[in-house]
Symmetry: C2
C-alpha cells in the first residue's frame, strides 16, 4: 500500500510520474538523455548499469523493469542475470566489468569510488565521458530506487506487465508518449 | 584531483554541470521545481532537507553549500547546524522533525522508510504532497552527493566561495543564469 494516494493501475515509478507531472518531466528527460541519447555505450549496456544499481538497492520494480529492457536490447536473458550475480564473471567486456564495478561503488556512496577502480576502467579503454555517464546513471538510479521504495509503491499484479513495459522502453524510450499513442496508454503503463 | 578533466575554477557540482550541459539542464530544472517552485514548504525548509541528506552522505561540497543557503533563507546559522547534529532536538516544528527523519531514512535506502515514520509525519500535519516532495528531494540529493563525490570533484580554495554561491542560489535559484547576468559568471560559480 503506497504511502501517498497513487493511481492503482500505475505501479512503481509510473504512478509517481503521474502524481507530480512537473517534477516528472525533467526526470524523464534526464533518463532519456543518459539511457537513449547519443553515446558510445549501447542502450543495452546502459540498461545493465541501471539494472546492477537497482539490484544492489533491492528495488524490485526497477530491477525487474530494467532487467527486462536489458534482455530485450541485448537479445538474451543471461547477460543481465549474470551481471546481477557477479560482475567479474559476467559475459561482458573488461571495460564494462570495470564500469559496472564503479556503478556498484557509486550505489554504496560517492566516496566509495576509488582511484584504482577509475584507473582500471581507463586501462580497459573507458573514456572520460563513459566514466562520467556511468557515475551519473548510477546516481540517477539511486534517486529512482529511493523514490519508488521510499513511497512504498506497488508491484504490478500481472507478471506480464514488465514485458509490456520493457517493450515500451525499448520502442519509445523514457519521455512521455507522443500524441497518437493513446492505445499504448490503455496498456496501463 | 577529479577523476575526469573538469574546469579548475569550477569546484563541486558546478564543474560537472558544465562538463555535460545536456544532462545538466534537466538536473537544474528538477532542482528548481523542487527547491524553489510553488510549495507549502518555505525555501529554507527545503534547503534543510538537502542539507540533512548531504550531511548524512558526508558530501562536503553539497553540505556546505546547502547549509549556507539554508542559513541565508532562515536568517540564522543555528537551525541548519542543529538539524545536522540531531533532528529531534533541532529548533524546527514537529512536522519538519518528522519529515527530516523520513529524508534521513530515504538517504539510507528507500526501503528504510517505515509506515510509522510516515504516520508520524501525517499526525504532525504533513500533507501527501509534502511527504512526496520530502522523499523526492532526499532522493535527488542522493544523486547529487554521488555525482559530486563519485567523480572526486574539488573543493574551492577560497572558503568565501560558499557565501557567494549561497547568495546566488537564494537570489537566482538553480537554473542557469539568464542573459545579462554575465558579471555573476565572473564570480566563477
Amino acid at each position: 500500500m503506497p504511502y501517498i494516494p497513487l493511481e492503482e493501475h500505475l505501479p512503481g515509478i509510473t504512478g509517481l510520474l503521474e502524481y507530480r507531472k512537473d517534477s516528472a518531466q525533467p526526470i524523464r528527460e534526464l533518463t532519456q538523455i543518459l539511457l537513449r541519447g547519443q553515446s558510445t555505450f549501447t542502450e543495452g549496456e546502459r540498461e545493465l548499469i541501471a539494472t546492477v544499481v537497482s539490484s544492489g538497492n533491492n528495488c524490485t520494480f526497477c530491477t525487474t523493469a530494467h532487467t527486462a529492457a536489458a534482455d530485450l536490447l541485448i537479445g538474451n536473458t543471461e547477460t543481465a542475470k549474470k551481471v546481477k550475480e557477479d560482475i567479474n564473471t559476467a559475459p561482458v567486456s573488461g571495460k564494462m566489468k570495470a564500469l559496472l564495478t564503479i556503478a556498484s561503488m557509486v550505489r554504496e556512496s560517492g566516496k566509495s569510488v576509488t582511484p584504482e577502480a577509475i584507473q582500471k576502467a581507463k586501462d580497459e579503454g573507458a573514456t572520460d565521458v563513459e566514466i562520467h555517464d556511468t557515475v551519473l546513471i548510477a546516481a540517477l538510479f539511486c534517486l529512482y530506487n529511493r523514490y519508488v521504495d521510499g513511497l512504498a509503491t506497488a508491484l504490478p499484479d500481472d507478471s506480464g506487465y514488465f514485458n509490456v513495459l520493457a517493450n515500451r522502453l525499448v520502442r519509445h524510450g523514457y519521455t512521455r508518449l507522443p500524441q497518437g499513442y493513446d492505445h499504448l496508454k490503455k496498456e496501463k503503463i
